[in-house]
């Protein structure tokens, strides 16, 4: 998985609780991304980062925030989890811009009850 790890790999939480997912890379790539994957949908971009402390929204950013304090770590936070955020979350990295080839981590399966 191209030097990308995600933690936790599985999480079950309750509606209204905060959740933070972590993506860690060892490739020193500038760009990092968070996607969600749901049945009937292709991967959808939540947020991405183009450098330390530089982030931007994707197409499904509502209810999510991100932070990147170090090149190797990109955190995704659900401030108050909802059942609609039950999904599999993938982190990806690329050395170039948005349109550069992206390599994905193993995913985090999140269930919000």
């Amino acid at each position: 998985d191209a030097g990308i790890t995600q933690s936790p790999r599985h999480k079950v939480t309750e509606t209204g609780t905060p959740v933070t997912l972590r993506c860690h890379q060892t490739e020193n790539h500038r760009y990092m991304y968070w996607y969600r994957q749901d049945p009937g949908h292709g991967l959808r971009l939540i947020h991405y980062s183009y450098g330390v402390k530089d982030t931007d929204k994707g197409e499904v950013s509502d209810g999510y925030s991100v932070s990147r304090s170090k090149t190797e770590d990109f955190l995704l936070t659900l401030e108050s989890a909802t059942s609609s955020q039950t999904s599999v979350y993938f982190c990806a990295i690329s050395s170039g811009g948005l349109t550069d080839t992206q390599y994905f981590g193993p995913g985090t399966r999140l269930t919000v009850l």
């Binding site: 991967l43 959808r44 080839t101």
Partner: protein
């Protein structure tokens, strides 16, 4: 979002046969395409890519064909093996914008 979809949600092939997985896209400005393979419980894995200035690109046992006239992309897998069983999906982008991903085709290889 972009309309990036696949013609068939499932495909079953005999081991040793060739597989063809199709993808349609709607944005005529798209200029870069990727095929990913995703095994159960794992993240998507890059297989092969192609830029819009090409019609065909070959890798190891895989070939991607791009028909810009009808906005169609296909992935051909030669001599399909059990290890090829997975979900395959395409992704497309036009320079400066995000990728859009298809929903995937599930390939099952019958021994």
């Amino acid at each position: 979002g972009e309309n990036v979809g696949l013609h068939l949600p499932t495909l079953s092939v005999q081991e040793g046969d060739n597989s063809i997985i199709n993808c349609a896209y709607s944005n005529s400005a798209s200029d870069y395409f990727i095929w990913y393979k995703q095994e159960s419980g794992k993240g998507p894995q890059f297989i092969i890519d192609i830029r819009s200035n090409m019609d065909k690109r070959q890798g190891q046992r895989v070939t991607v064909l791009l028909n810009k006239t009808v906005k169609h992309l296909s992935l051909q897998i030669a001599a399909t093996q059990p290890g090829d069983s997975a979900v395959y999906f395409c992704a497309e982008t036009n320079t400066g914008n995000q990728f859009y991903f298809g929903t995937g085709t599930s390939l099952t290889v019958i021994p």
